[in-house]
């Protein structure tokens, strides 16, 4: 029977190789066709109309940097999402970036990193132990690439679909011994006067007297943010209207639900670019550009749960943000876009694929673990300086290369 399904994905949860031989193979089945009629509907996503790479640029000066990180997004997460919506020959937007490479992800104390150590490597250019944020294992704090850009007069922003104080965004805007200390991380994010903070985690900004608070003290961070000049918003309508140079957008008490009526990651990215572009122009040095980090936080979470459908959806939501960034970069001409992951989650492999019926793909999805893996991840780049990100590299090299392109020296360097 001829199938109209573009991708039929059979997810077999296999908990064998990495977590001990005592775990037998279990099984779940995911049918992409039925997924289109349930809450996992992917019709929100438009795959690229071509698989041709985006153009290379002849521009040399990097004015703006947009750094997009898919948490837990290994090569096979990208391949799975691509096969689901574009068939075996199709590409996601991120795969159309003209330069690609490989990145190794180990941390100071483990071949298998967590997002704190990986985020620190990507932000500060130094290795640390799992769980630590923005500092080396001996607790020496290092300047992040965001802070380096800010010191140079650039506007800065962080976006995540987790709480804004989760490990990856925290690594770019704070320095602390443990990723678990989210209330303190939020204080540092505000005190660092990062122009744009979009994500979840409003509970950490509320004093303990508020029934929705996630704090154990009386610090009212929303009040502190307002006093520091932030426009504090929490709805899509407020996001559309936001016009300040500093905007704190917290759209949930906890992590985002990544569903309407929340703004999508792409919508937050587009708005952040507009705000940062304007703020960069208003800086004392005038037209200093901006640095923006965007995280698709929940790819990792779906991988931890070994849910193929969720991985596809979250990867596509992330890819929409990549498309938004590329759209701006191609028009601007002096914007470097870098897309990578902090690590792979789930030990995901794709096997047993038949390729029949002109594009219909049948893939067997196998999971090696419910944790992270040590697999290298991909890196893709577009814009001036993009060629520097080709080949195989360590995760600590990424911010060093960005620093070179932006003229941030020395880097890495200690926080004074």
């Amino acid at each position: 029977m001829k199938t109209t399904v573009r991708a039929l994905l059979i997810a077999i949860v296999s908990l064998s190789s990495l977590v001990g031989s005592n775990l037998a193979i279990g099984g779940t089945v995911f049918n992409y066709q039925t997924a289109k009629t349930d809450p996992n509907d992917l019709s929100f996503y438009q795959p690229p109309i071509t698989s041709e790479p985006y153009p290379l640029t002849s521009a040399k000066k990097v004015k703006n940097v947009i750094f997009l990180i898919g948490d837990g997004m290994g090569f096979n997460q990208v391949a799975l999402a691509g096969a689901a919506v574009a068939g075996p020959s199709g590409k996601l937007h991120l795969e159309r970036l003209p330069v690609s490479g490989l990145m190794r992800t180990h941390s100071s104390n483990s071949l298998v990193t967590d997002s704190a150590a990986a985020g620190t490597a990507l932000a500060c250019g130094v290795k640390t132990n799992n769980g630590m944020i923005g500092m080396t294992p001996d607790e020496k704090a290092y300047v992040s690439i965001l802070e380096g850009a800010q010191a140079k007069g650039m506007a800065t922003g962080l976006i995540a679909t987790s709480t804004i104080s989760h490990a990856t965004p925290a690594s770019f805007g704070s320095h602390i011994k443990s990723r678990k200390l989210e209330p303190a991380i939020c204080e540092q994010l505000i005190d660092n006067r990062i122009n744009v903070l979009f994500g979840g985690g409003r509970k950490f900004f509320l004093p303990q007297s508020d029934p929705n608070s996630g704090r154990k003290d009386d610090v009212d961070l929303l009040a502190r943010a307002k006093a520091a000049g932030y426009a504090c918003i929490q709805t899509p309508a407020e996001l559309r209207m936001a016009d300040a140079s500093h905007v704190l957008g917290l759209f949930q008490l906890d992590a985002l639900k990544t569903r309407e009526p929340e703004p999508s990651l792409a919508a937050m990215t587009r708005k952040a670019i507009r705000i940062l572009r304007k703020a960069g122009r208003q800086s004392p040095e005038d037209r200093q550009g901006f640095f923006l980090m965007v995280e698709g936080s929940q790819i990792d979470w779906e991988c931890h749960a070994n849910r193929a459908a969720g991985v596809i959806r979250q990867t596509l939501l992330f890819d929409q943000a990549v498309e938004a960034a590329v759209d701006f970069a191609l028009r601007d001409g002096n914007t470097l876009v870098i897309v990578t992951a902090d690590h792979e989650t789930g030990g995901l492999t794709l096997v047993g694929g038949d390729n029949e019926d002109k594009g219909a793909a049948e893939l067997t999805v196998k999971w090696g673990t419910k944790g992270h893996s040590a697999a290298p991840v991909g890196i893709w780049a577009l814009g001036p300086g993009a060629a520097r990100f080709s080949g195989t590299q360590d995760n600590t090299e990424i911010p060093k290369k960005i620093a070179q392109l932006l003229g941030i020296r020395p880097f890495p360097r200690l926080v004074r």
Partner: protein, 68 residues
């Protein structure tokens, strides 16, 4: 016969070493952390009733049911 439930939380960077339905004895490994000697063990004997990922704390929450 009534049961009591014991919750064990382990970091999610590494997968849990147990799955739902496993019988564990007190002291059995719940998670082994590679590259270190760190070992998280079951505080009680019983049956693993659930293993859930908690994204907020980036941990697995393992519930062990044991007879009172």
């Amino acid at each position: 016969m009534s049961e009591r439930r014991t919750i064990v939380r382990v970091g999610a960077a590494y997968g849990p070493a147990v799955r739902v339905g496993d019988l564990v004895r007190s002291g059995d490994p719940m998670q082994t952390v590679p590259d270190t000697d760190e070992l998280i063990v079951a505080p009680v004997s019983g049956t693993v009733e659930s293993v859930q990922f908690d994204p907020a704390d980036h941990e697995f929450v393992i519930v062990i049911a044991s007879p009172c």
